[in-house]
Point group: C2
Chain length 341, copies 2
């Protein structure tokens, strides 16, 4: 027990308790907490989370509520945010629970309501698919605070969370594009994709710099054959080759994703153009630094700074759970210049 460990270590029980609590161990010297931890490891002792929960009223869990779980966890940005959030939460002694909802009224949807009403976690994070599917109403049953990661231009449905803002990165891109290139820029996305918002933000950044965005940038749409990132490369590559005449009218291809940009890059290269020299390509998502994608990233891109998003998200959650006042935190995206622009 705690008091036995305390006696063995020659400290008070509350010192042992602090050493074992990641959120409180900074109150002790590193040497003391390491000594106590080594002793606990030696005898295989940890206070049960259930007992601790009963004493403090905390579950030490943060739940992420997902609607399209397969898609969300497979999307590179959200995958990275989930993984980094899990790591930051663990540093604070918390862990991440996944809750998978479904259409309203289904058994899976009811099970999640059930969990929420039973206080399964101390705080909740919604995923992009929850926001897209307007399933936020189920979150009304929450007894605990709800946190959201929203993109600039999307209404922020609650009072806490992280706002992603591309505005400064987009301005940086515009200020690097020579004026002679205006009118020869295309924004590449798919038909029926929810890209209008992104294009609006790109144009707004141009207007802020006094650029006539409507004349500077055109749109080029690809037929959508698949909805997973894994097949976007193939879509962009093959369709760029087919539509090469349209592409040859442009000197700058601003792509909605890095997968698109990589497909465009390979197709244009095969058609005799030289990305970074006679044609410029910009992606979105910083895919090439995703573990295992590329040892030597070449694509110029915009990074949403997923690590910073997760760090700020966890910090806001921990503050809120400590009873401190919190606000929406803005995390700015970064323009990353590599070979293609």
């Amino acid at each position: 027990t705690l008091s036995e460990i305390a006696t063995m270590a020659g400290v008070t029980p509350s010192t042992v308790s602090r050493a074992l609590n990641p959120a409180a161990s900074h109150l002790l010297s590193k040497k003391t907490s390491e000594r106590i931890l080594a002793l606990c490891d030696h005898v295989g002792y940890r206070p049960s989370l259930l007992a601790r929960g009963t004493a403090t009223g905390f579950t030490y869990k943060v739940a992420m509520i997902l609607h399209d779980m397969e898609k969300d966890l497979n999307a590179h940005d959200w995958n990275r945010i989930t993984c980094a959030t899990s790591a930051f939460l663990q540093e604070s002694g918390y862990s991440l629970v996944l809750l998978r909802t479904s259409e309203k009224g289904t058994s899976m949807d009811m099970q999640v309501s059930h969990f929420l009403m039973s206080g399964i976690a101390d705080a909740y994070i919604t995923s992009p698919s929850m926001l897209k599917n307007n399933t936020l109403e189920m979150l009304n049953s929450l007894k605990s605070p709800l946190f959201v990661i929203c993109e600039h231009g999307v209404p922020f449905p609650v009072s806490d969370g992280v706002l992603r803002s591309d505005a400064d990165a987009f301005k940086q891109v515009w200020s690097r594009i020579p004026k002679e290139m205006h009118g020869k820029i295309c924004f590449l996305s798919t038909i029926n994709d929810n890209t209008q918002r992104l294009l609006t933000n790109i144009k707004r950044a141009a207007w802020d710099l006094g650029i006539d965005a409507n004349n500077a940038i055109s749109t080029l749409s690809l037929a959508r054959t698949s909805k997973v990132p894994a097949m976007e490369y193939a879509e962009a590559y093959h369709q760029t080759k087919k539509m090469i005449k349209s592409f040859n009218q442009f000197d700058f291809v601003w792509c909605i994703s890095d997968f698109f940009a990589l497909g465009v890059k390979d197709a244009l290269t095969e058609c005799g153009r030289c990305p970074g020299k006679d044609v410029f390509i910009l992606g979105y998502g910083d895919l090439e630094t995703f573990p295992g994608v590329s040892e030597k990233p070449v694509l110029s891109t915009i990074s949403a700074n997923t690590h910073e998003i997760a760090r700020n998200m966890c910090s806001v959650i921990m503050k809120k759970l400590d009873g401190e006042h919190t606000d929406i935190v803005t995390v700015k995206s970064s323009f990353i210049s590599r070979s293609t622009f």
Copy 2:
């Protein structure tokens, strides 16, 4: 409280408790449990999970321990298993916690040990990256049962879980290949990929049918440029076109993944061959039924039956937690014939 709800519903408190417990609600008539649930919803009542945990000693959590969290959740098979497991657990009133470990001795690794020793969950599932990285030793600190999903041919490190077996599917494939094609079959994978085991299993299936596997199937390796599924299509497509002479020696291309197979299919088609007619292509993973990939799957493939794996995994876990005897359950893969073979 529970007894107030019971009085309002005119039933005993234990009936209310059963109606609210997904694992016990089958003991009541559907009508009764629906009536009680509607009443609880109306007054916004659910017993707190913390209180229930204190009473029963259960956390009602199953933790999945991941080493390369980003890669595991991004790999289609594991993504599907994770999502389906989460859904099946929810049906039993359990939820899935993600624990993210790191290299031995790091702070993240210690945090996970900490969680395990505190009894964060009632049962644990390891992920492929945990097994690959030989990080299983940290699981020694577990007080609760550990479950593993292993592939046939990989040593099964614990006594419970699900064994994936491709043997029957591979035999089905071999029995469909005409004898004249033996010697014109290639197994396509990447250099340095851990594919030896899969090839061994493919050959073993041939031998079981009396086929001289060493003469029937050759290997063809692609240079590996990336380790994520998202770029495998591009690798296979471009390298097939470059190595078209090698490919033209074969009538049957047996690919290590569906992404590879799709890339090969598109490249061979462009080079004038007709998949399904004068060349046969087989993938692995049933990627095209992943949400959003393809409305009309064409690729012949082998499905690992991830939904069945998850269903059996949850059923074994629940049995074990009920104190029943459990064994390793084998889930067989299926051969799915579509247009390309």
